[in-house]
């Protein structure tokens, strides 16, 4: 069914008791054209664009848990395309453009809200670095504005501008950035893919690969053997585990990233703010909770929960930025497991094993990339050539020395 004003009114008048499930909870068939391992945002978007853009609808999405239970429901919902390096910029801008048309495309209210993302700077050197970043964006046709302190004050009068250690001098603003309701992204893509014939199979963990003559021809799962001409993996957090089943290693470490939400408050923060002197970012959900986060914990982890030193560090960042936050109580915190790559940038490429396709390494920036990643990954799977926006996101860039290192940190995943 298509959602419309009429269907919403009819639902309201009947007490909202007549809604049916938004997508089919499918049982696996013996064979497909394409299997996508991982029913997170990236996997669902990949399946959707395979069906919509490339006409490949005989697709299964295999999810170990349930739809919406992984990182697509654990992030801080921010979208933006304010990257510096030419290897990254086209993919993230493709993604932001797809966000802008997403709701009309999938007929689902994902609450895409372009409320602006503001990165604050606190020193002359940081201002210069942000000017450079903004120039790189504008050279790629992306909006960026360098604001001085007065302009930031007009937007956010309540920040601590005269902080003795980290005075706010200004900020780099991307007005087209913002937030999206993350659960609705999972549900919306699942519904749109399912409507086009994609099978979404939950509680279906992949336990091994089928091979014929060195080529991968399907997967063994907890719900039986499933064959496919092509197998694609989009399993952030578990990429190394799935790669291990296929017999290769990745330039990836799994790390835990925590996120936090406060009790519901009246509207105070209209956009997204990031603190430039520490690692802290914050926005306010439409429900009223302040949604914020900071650094990864910094050690390899599959635990989906973090430790207290990072909680303290994040809260200190918040207090340095906007002391008023100290009056709010923290309601919940949780952790998600990230694929931290060796250069801080993602990989969309053929795997070293024939028949297998690789989508990994999104670090803690995967949510904003969902539409672009799915679009480019579907292109790679359908045509066996990289999408023009993802030509630099190759697996062999590490051995060839063509890393895309936004922060210039080197091969130390916990520093990206």
């Amino acid at each position: 069914m298509r959602y419309s004003v009429v269907s919403l009114l009819a639902g309201a008048l009947t007490g909202n008791r007549r809604w049916t499930p938004a997508w089919r909870d499918a049982a696996p068939k013996p064979a497909y054209d394409v299997i996508v391992i991982g029913g997170g945002g990236h996997g669902l978007a990949t399946a959707y664009y395979l069906a919509r853009t490339h006409g490949i609808a005989n697709v299964a999405v295999l999810e170990r848990g349930w739809i919406g239970g992984g990182n697509v429901g654990r992030n801080t919902t921010i979208i933006r395309s304010n990257y510096l390096l030419p290897g990254n910029i086209p993919l993230y801008e493709l993604s932001l453009k797809l966000w802008e048309g997403l709701e009309q495309d999938i007929n689902y209210n994902a609450m895409v809200s372009q409320r602006g993302v503001l990165n604050l700077y606190h020193s002359d050197a940081q201002r210069d670095a942000y000017a450079r970043r903004g120039n790189a964006m504008r050279l790629h046709g992306i909006d960026a504005e360098l604001l001085d302190q007065g302009a930031v004050r007009r937007l956010y009068p309540f920040l601590d501008y005269d902080n003795a250690r980290f005075p706010i001098q200004g900020g780099l603003l991307q007005r087209r950035g913002g937030t999206v309701r993350h659960d609705a992204v999972a549900w919306g893509y699942a519904r749109a893919a399912s409507d086009r014939g994609v099978d979404i199979v939950q509680n279906c963990a992949v336990t091994g690969f089928l091979r014929e003559g060195g080529r991968i021809t399907g997967v063994e799962t907890t719900r039986g053997t499933i064959r496919a001409a092509k197998v694609a993996m989009a399993v952030a957090g578990s990429s190394s585990q799935v790669a291990d089943m296929a017999g290769f290693r990745l330039p990836i470490e799994s790390h835990v990233l925590q996120a936090f939400v406060s009790e519901g408050l009246k509207p105070i923060i209209p956009g997204v703010i990031t603190f430039g002197a520490g690692h802290f970012y914050i926005s306010q959900s439409d429900k009223g909770g302040l949604v914020f986060g900071g650094d990864i914990d910094g050690y390899n982890s599959y635990a989906q929960r973090g430790n207290l030193p990072v909680v303290e560090d994040v809260c200190e960042g918040g207090m340095a930025l906007m002391p008023a936050i100290g009056r709010a109580r923290m309601l919940r915190s949780w952790g998600g497991v990230m694929d931290m790559s060796m250069d801080g940038s993602p990989i969309i490429d053929h795997a070293p094993v024939e028949g297998l396709y690789l989508n990994t390494g999104w670090c803690y920036g995967g949510f904003k990339a969902i539409p672009g990643s799915g679009y480019a990954f579907a292109h790679l799977i359908a045509r066996d050539e990289p999408h023009p926006a993802a030509t630099a996101l190759r697996l062999d860039r590490f051995a060839l020395g063509r890393v895309i290192d936004e922060k210039g940190q080197g091969a130390q995943p916990n520093l990206h």
């Binding site: 290693r249 430790n307 030193p309 091969a411 995943p413």
Partner: protein, 86 residues
């Protein structure tokens, strides 16, 4: 998370700097493929893992800590200096 430093006893993990998987050992100079493996590729296990921690805010020793990446439980910590050379 507390790390049992052989010199200092159990100390908060925030006193330590993390350097990741202890398994990769620097290969001989001249083998580019082996060097790329050493720098970039990791087993990244879900389970017990030997990893390097530096007690920066304590005795400044490098440790090899055996820690389970699924629940952060630490089963062993020894001085990296006691390792056999690569």
């Amino acid at each position: 998370m507390r790390i049992p430093c052989p010199y200092c006893g159990p100390r908060d993990s925030s006193e330590f700097a993390y350097h990741g998987d202890a398994a990769p050992r620097r290969p001989a100079v001249g083998n580019a493929a082996a060097m790329a493996d050493y720098v970039y590729l990791r087993a990244n296990p879900a389970g017990p893992m030997e990893e390097l921690w530096y007690h920066a805010q304590g005795c400044r020793s490098w440790l090899v800590v055996t820690r389970d990446t699924r629940d952060h439980a630490i089963s062993n910590a020894r001085l990296a200096a006691t390792r056999s050379p690569a």
